[in-house]
Point group: C2
Chain length 709, copies 2
């Protein structure tokens, strides 16, 4: 595309907007598509029968002729349209008859001529378009036209612009993609031609942000080429860009806030049951080793520490100020933090946007920007950073150190995270409440956790993304290094309605979230337990080196259910090579089933489990292992658990590490055995054939997206 045409397209849009039009005319639409090289049917205005015939011959038959007159709206009614013209003579004759009919029907009409249009042969209908999402900005959409997109909503979204290879990937992301390959004897459509249109639409959306919607519907795709037959373009006020601090600034500030050397508690209290007292106790009893400065207008000392009348009275630097005062006092105290140069405020108080008090929240945002203070919250429980023994929260303390960082938009979910973690003994690096997200949001956290040496996996619960585009950009980068798990609440219409009454946030179309999270390499969890189990299990599993999964089971019935789960979770059950099949058969009874699952049968001693697991770990063709244990007297649960831990340790000493998960079927002793296995890096579940496979599946999904498989 030349610069000239960019200027042309800009002029078109500005003209339409200055006239107050929401839609471009067909001619304007056509000009924009042509400027970007999107194929459209040829057309030419002819003012004589001869020039119509010439035009038709130049663009190729068949053609359609349509009268052009400002006075004639319903062209067909006046005999103003003739379709399917196959020869120059027929075109010339049609020209004359159209003009005659039109003149007769509308005697006073000014006839500007007749439009000669190329008739595009039937092809497979696809739809390409762009929409402007309140959170993600410009999106490109692709779907199969007709009933598939209308009835079954078979469509895929990506952030605009898209590269040509991403555009090509969109063709494989729809359910009915087989239609593009050809069914009922058709050949495949020209994928490159469609991808080219998608890519160009992405550029149009990016270059011309005033285009709020653009629909090419249908695009007729052929075995060679694709043509946009119909187009509709809506224009309006382009979305405004949200301010974001530069990356280095975010990192510096977030490191001071989440790993502070000093914490001030604004509203510290000596009175048990008060939030300001709970925060103080959590800081002190949690074992935080940095400086703690209680701030209270009158107290001399709180919980044995010297108190200050104001944050400004503190001698040393303050990295992080935790607010535990009523909403109406927050702005004043926040200003003082600004004057003191505190980089971050943890705004526990509620009474802001979540109660409808949007103005009060905007006031905080303004102060934050004025003094360059990052704000967490308001309306949050605070945060935990275990590797600093820091519980900057009024909720129960938590101190089990580990590699998972979790965050939640909601306090209830935050408490569920703490409870689940404690119950499961899950080690975490951080738990963070984001609440109203007046400032700090999920992508700020991602930016911090990306470079935090204690965090290897990040799990985030949210109801909306205030800036989905920024999130997607950061997540795309971070997910290459560290798995990101997202629980997006308000997925469904009913759920989205609840979300908007909760936070005043407009929940986005869930399919958009699905697609963009996928594009960004984020592992989406669809339930709270899934998020929690993925967060717990993924750091335990080494990254698999390949797709070959093998099930070894003592219970054939578990093997069947585990196989079901493998398919449900996109895992590949390895086709067992003959030599390996033979090797397994050496260890199992003659009626045991080798193949995959390897069914060692129920009555086998520990040695059989040991030998088969060892074989699977040692063989390089096998990349991951799912164990299905069946409780028997011959191999009791803890004997099984210990032998597995033992084999794994032996193999690790030889440098062999593979993801292993286990499903334990049996009486209640299998619960203890599962815990023993989990403590030794093998995610294991009693009475479930699906959860261990889901956890392994999540690891695979991540590894594939991160390009490690």
């Amino acid at each position: 595309m030349t610069t000239a045409s960019t200027q042309d397209t800009r002029a078109i849009i500005e003209a339409a907007r200055s006239e107050g039009r929401a839609y471009l005319t067909p001619g304007e639409c056509r000009s924009i598509l042509e400027a970007y090289g999107v194929p459209v049917p040829s057309e030419r205005l002819a003012t004589s029968a001869a020039s119509a015939a010439d035009a038709a011959a130049a663009m190729g038959f068949p053609v359609v002729l349509k009268v052009v007159s400002p006075e004639i709206v319903h062209k067909t009614d006046v005999g103003g349209v003739v379709t399917g013209l196959e020869t120059a003579d027929a075109v010339a004759a049609a020209y004359e008859s159209i003009v005659a009919s039109a003149k007769k029907a509308v005697p006073n009409a000014r006839i500007d001529g007749v439009l000669v249009q190329q008739m595009v042969p039937a092809g497979r209908e696809v739809i390409v378009g762009t929409v402007t999402d309140p959170s993600f900005g410009k999106l490109v959409a692709f779907g199969i036209g007709g009933v598939l997109v209308e009835v079954l909503r078979d469509v895929v979204f990506r952030l605009a612009p898209v590269s040509k290879s991403d555009a090509a990937g969109m063709l494989d992301a729809i359910k009915a993609k087989q239609i593009l390959e050809g069914v009922r004897g058709e050949g495949p459509v020209d994928r490159a031609a469609i991808a080219d249109i998608i890519e160009k639409v992405g550029r149009i959306a990016t270059d011309l942000p005033e285009i709020l919607e653009l629909d090419l519907n249908p695009v007729l795709a052929h075995e060679k080429g694709a043509v946009a037959v119909d187009v509709r373009i809506a224009v309006g006020e382009p979305p405004t860009e949200r301010y974001r601090p530069p990356h280095a600034e975010i990192v510096t500030a977030m490191n001071r806030i989440l790993k502070p050397d000093s914490v001030a508690v604004i509203g510290a209290s000596a009175e048990a049951g008060k939030i300001g007292n709970s925060v103080m106790k959590n800081l002190i009893n949690g074992g935080y080793q940095g400086k703690i400065y209680p701030v209270h207008p009158k107290a001399e000392e709180i919980e044995g520490l010297k108190a200050y009348p104001s944050v400004k009275a503190i001698e040393g630097e303050v990295d992080c100020a935790v607010f535990a005062i009523p909403a109406q006092f927050v702005p004043g105290a926040l200003r003082e933090c600004g004057e003191k140069g505190v980089p971050g405020a943890i705004l526990i108080p509620s009474g802001f946007a979540e109660t409808g008090n949007v103005a009060a929240q905007e006031e905080l945002q303004a102060i934050g920007r004025e003094y360059n203070i990052r704000l967490m919250g308001p309306n949050i429980y605070g945060f935990y950073y275990t590797h600093k023994n820091l519980c900057a929260t009024f909720c129960t303390a938590y101190d089990v150190k580990g590699q998972v960082a979790l965050s939640s938009q909601s306090g209830g979910i935050g408490m569920a995270i703490v409870g689940f973690s404690r119950s499961a003994g899950m080690g975490v690096s951080a738990i963070v409440g984001l609440g109203n997200k007046a400032d700090i949001d999920e992508d700020d956290l991602l930016t911090f956790f990306e470079q935090d040496e204690h965090t290897q996996v990040i799990a985030q619960h949210f109801e909306d993304l205030k800036d989905g585009r920024a999130f997607a950009e950061v997540a795309s980068r971070v997910s290459k290094k560290k798995p990101i798990i997202a629980l997006k609440a308000g997925r469904t219409t009913a759920g989205a309605k609840a979300a908007s009454s909760h936070t005043g946030a407009l929940a986005g179309n869930d399919k958009v979230y699905d697609d963009i999270l996928e594009q960004a390499g984020v592992i989406r969890a669809y339930t709270l337990r899934d998020m929690l189990e993925f967060a717990r299990g993924m750091p335990e599993l080494p990254t698999p080196k390949g797709e070959n999964v093998v099930i070894i089971t003592g219970a054939g019935g578990s093997g069947v259910l585990l196989s079901d789960s493998c398919v449900d979770n996109g895992l590949t059950l390895m086709a067992m090579p003959d030599d390996l099949d033979k090797a397994f058969r050496e260890f199992i009874p003659p009626f045991g089933a080798a193949g995959n699952p390897v069914d060692i049968t129920g009555g086998e001693p520990p040695a059989t489990y040991r030998a088969t697991i060892k074989l699977a770990l040692e063989d390089e063709r096998i990349h991951s292992l799912i164990l299905g244990y069946w409780h028997t007297i011959v191999t009791p649960p803890m004997v099984f658990a210990e032998l597995v831990v033992d084999v794994v340790r032996e193999m690790k000493a030889k440098g062999i590490e593979k993801p292993i998960v286990a499903s334990l079927a049996g009486d209640v002793e299998v619960e203890e055995a599962s815990e023993h296995l989990y403590r030794h890096g093998i995610p294991s579940y009693a009475y479930s054939t699906e959860i261990p496979v889901q956890v392994l599946g999540a690891k695979y999904r991540w590894a594939r997206k991160a390009g490690l498989l």
Copy 2:
């Protein structure tokens, strides 16, 4: 349809089979469809131009003409086909030209005439057919034609025959059903005409079992009428009917077997660790109050009870014989049971079909039929019937009495059932192992549990149904009274493969299972945990009286996730009437969100939970309640649990009972609170917003199918 045409159709099929043909000719297909009144395009053989014109006029224009000659296969190539004829003159002319062209192209061809066929106008393509399933027998299928059925497998199955109303229901069971309503300006198709064809195809399949497959593809459906344009019929050996004892006989035998007054243990042993010893100990220590007869060739006494050298030596009647001897001795001992008149044998031993020894299993089946002994197994763990304190198994004992009966095809899953039950304190009536299912299968169990006063809910794990049709028939009846939960393993291709290596059973197409279980009113669980949680929760919940579900939550974030789960599980969040909304607002803070979810906000005292829950229970417009609790100091977990139990008790005293489930978000104390709630009839889960809603959803699915809603 007249009897005469039934005879005609039978003659057609017998002729085809006697000639060894697998497919009927187009003419034969047409005759069968016509005999049943399935609309097909009119056609007539004309032998002159005039008769062709007459025929066309009679059937209506447009028509197509096709040459009929045994020597001419590719009619189009010889100018033997003319389509789109609109007038009698055109038909006459076409007749002459076809005959002339054909004679010229194939001079020696015998020309029998020209076929005049009605051209069916374009319409929406649907597919109607019948297939013969190895387990379910004759099935009717319906789908949208073209890419939808081919690419997206959008098809629904029902057992044949189907009533007209069931046939009409099939039109609503496909994903793309909106196409039948009309899209892009089309009107709705003639649903009655399609349903009529489906019903007729069901009758054809039932009347003519030799028709193994019948495809009407496409049926062109119009706004008025529908016509089967193309048909294909495959014939072959009809499936054989499996023997089943009469209902009364099944009930009598199963009652003696599962609730026996006397049990013999064939292969009782005094040696700890032997299966025959474990069974003896479980019977004695489990507190079984009936007679126990150890059978052992030499022992005088086993575990303090008099032993018998053979079952025939026992003085009294024996209701149930538990086998704990090696496979090769089973046939002899089974014969002795037969001679003794024992009605049921519990065949724990393995070494039969599951190890490939099919002949040995067939021998047992023959003995069973000869002596009218019902066989459970072989290759099982046995069974439990808690209300008789009966543990007829070598596995660990279980004695918590309750209303749920569970069964499993696999021993591993059976042990998972025992472990989960013990861990959750789940009361059960029975746990039964079915193993190889040489005889007793899922529908025998359903028949027993239907009339068992201690069983209110039935949960079954299976990999195949040896007689899916019998199962569906019994389940359709039983599910009206008692919920049936099914975990069908081997759902997926990989899973089905594992199933067939495990039991030698051919796992059916999963979509067929899905549809037929649906038709039979069975609640399908897709994972082991789902089956277990549904089994545990469903008996606790009263049957809802309507669809209106209300969420009351202290955590807005939980409310959003609970709403998501409601939509996922087909539950209806009641649109809150203004007066009720106002009534709720009386109790909650001004910034709390009424509507639905009712968000009472996090800082509220017990009184707010109490008042809102009471209001929801008392208002008749609300039918079910989902509680989302958030752990705070103001309302600690056990305080919440106790107040809920208290309100529910108070309401129950007033005759108000509604299904209530709860999701508890908080620190580990919420686990104890959840257990307390569950013990009092409120299925409650810590750290999960989805499981409680799934359980409620299962209850609703059942109530709807049972016609109670």
